[in-house]
Amino acid sequence: MSARPEPEARWLAELREQGLEAFAALPMPTSKEEVWRYVDLDFDLADLSMPEKAGTPLGEGRFTVAGIGGARIVDGFVDDIVQPDGVTITPTSEADPAALEAAAASVIPPDLDKFSAAHHGFGTDGLLVHAGKGVAVDGPIVIDVQAVTPNALSLPRILLVAEAQSDLSVIVVYRSPDEGTFYVVPQLQATVGDAARLRLTTVQAWGYGTVSVGQQRTVLGRDASVHHGEAGIGAGLGRLHFFVDIDGAGAHSEISGLYFGEDDQLLDYRAFINHRAPNTTSNMFLKGAVEDASHSVFTGLIRIEEEAQRVNAFQTNRNLVLSDEAGAESVPNLEILANDVKCGHGSTVGPLDAEQRYYLMSRGLDRIHADRLQVRGFFEEAIGKLPHQEMAAAIRRAVNEKYVRAQEEGRL
């Protein structure tokens, strides 16, 4: 790999340096570390090369959606920016320094692990989406992130900045061809200013040969809110290590999502919700299913700092295990240092419900259709909570197709 020298903001340059240092110092993670426990990495980042330029972009896909503007990132290279009114979309290399500066608040530490180090040390370019103070737009910015050069590593970076009192809506779709191996370390960071609102939907629809080790961090100011929706559909290894730092009093974080693993997919979600200010709330609602020999992991840590009094924080993670060979781990955790808080978590892992099956069959549905309906209903609750309902139909189709296909091919 080689760093690509280019003019950049001072803090970005420092991060690059820190990234290179961390990359040299850190080993590849192993499953001995708790946060990597279920991941078996059979490659070394240091052996991978990065494309010199973007490959040929993919055409429209099943999650292609129209927005008021957006951009494409192919193999880590930003192109095809469609500039909407009100919000500024630029490559970081061309960004307004003041706008870029606000993004520094939500940096993902380069020494988080070797992947973050690689991202910072070798990242080609980033995309900055900036909503100025008080700006509200009436539709989503759509970012189409692609990996198209086989056997190569790409490091797409998205920086979202919603200045005070602004209202920003962003849909990110991650995709790559079904055939071929692709390595991606995407980072998405969001700075949400005082009383600003961010609605963000991320659709992870990489091809099954793709290894994606992503990090994401959202930092909330006073009375700020984020609603993040996640759909985990694709990737051989689809990992998302994400942080929500609730730093401003009165701020709220809502996370809704779903994932569905088949074949030998591993979908690995590591969530860290940090309440660092009083009167803050967070709610996480994730539903997942696994079939064939796929596995899913959800670990969610809600940490409530001593100064964060009068906090409400909840997380729910429900999992359907549809095949004997499949498995789901669900480990919600609370770490509470304050004394005036309301927290809770619910976690379930299990097969389809026999009572629901009986009820549906007693109405005349055969077992196949009864189970199909139950799976559909299971995900419907999560789909209904996604912040961008314009994505609901495509996401619904994608998860239900996985189940129907497995039924039809006799894999269940």
Binding site: M361, R363, L365, D366, Q374
Partner: protein, 258 residues
């Protein structure tokens, strides 16, 4: 014309516990039969065994419209014409009642006709508001029972098995449910109503009343039998037919857990 339901020497057990111990009952088309009995007598088990719930081992015979149902799967029985109104209807999150009907319609030869009558029946029973919310979710006890009756009216089975359709309801709700049952009656359907109390019978006139104790029908008679039971209670019958009280209690808890 065959009967709606003909049950002969029906036995059923769960694990090593025998719950139904040789039960006979015959419900003709156009008839309403009532089974009464104390807790633990096996009434709910009878419903589930007729419906084919997998955890029961059943022997004997249960014929619906001339076809033997034992040994067939739940959905085959449903399509052949058994429908049960559940005592504790299961919630189906994320699927509305209308979506359930639509899915059923796709599976049935008479699907179009089924869908065509949904809204009419809903209007008649005042249950239209149940259609566009998830099945049984957020419904009160009384609403769940009405939703069950509504579904049965749409399904138009040969034999409707109503399991304690009156339990847990206040007086007004019992009357409403009874009225819905009354509207369901007709020459093409037999109704088997299972109940612990006779209060729903203030609003319904059964053709036959059967008393079930310890997994058997111990007495059968006309509507007057229900009145008689109201006066005497089950204690005498329980003593006469030898069910031990501890068994009854165990059975009750056991059934409640199903």
């Amino acid at each position: 014309m065959s009967t709606a339901l003909a049950v002969r020497d029906l036995r059923a057990s769960i694990g090593s516990v025998e719950i139904l111990k040789g039960l006979d009952i015959e419900v003709g088309f156009g008839e309403l039969h009532v089974i009464m009995g104390p807790n633990g007598s096996g009434k709910s088990t009878l419903c589930h065994v007729l419906m084919g719930k997998p955890e029961y081992d059943a022997a004997g015979s249960a014929v619906v419209s001339g076809t033997e149902m034992l040994g067939t799967s739940v959905d085959v029985r449903a399509r052949h014409g058994i429908a049960q109104a559940f005592q504790y209807p299961t919630e189906i999150p994320g699927i509305t009642l209308r979506e359930l009907f639509e899915e059923l319609a796709e599976q049935r030869a008479d699907g179009a006709a089924l869908l065509a009558r949904v809204d009419d029946i809903a209007a008649r029973l005042g249950t239209a508001r149940f259609l566009d919310r998830p099945v049984n979710e957020g419904l009160s006890g009384g609403e769940k029972k009405r939703s069950e009756i509504f579904q049965l009216a749409v399904l138009a089975p040969a034999i409707a098995v109503l399991d304690e359709i009156d339990s847990g309801l206040d007086v007004d709700a019992v009357r409403e449910v009874a009225e819905a049952v009354e509207r369901m009656r007709g020459p093409d359907i037999g109704v088997l109503l299972i109940t612990h109390y006779n209060r729903i019978l203030q609003y319904l006139t059964p053709d036959r009343v059967h008393v079930m104790v310890a997994g058997r029908i111990v007495r059968s008679g006309g509507p007057e039998l229900a009145d008689e039971l109201e006066e005497t209670g089950y204690a005498e019958l329980v003593a006469e037919f030898g069910i031990k009280q501890e068994d009854a209690a165990t059975g009750d808890d056991f059934l409640a857990g199903l």
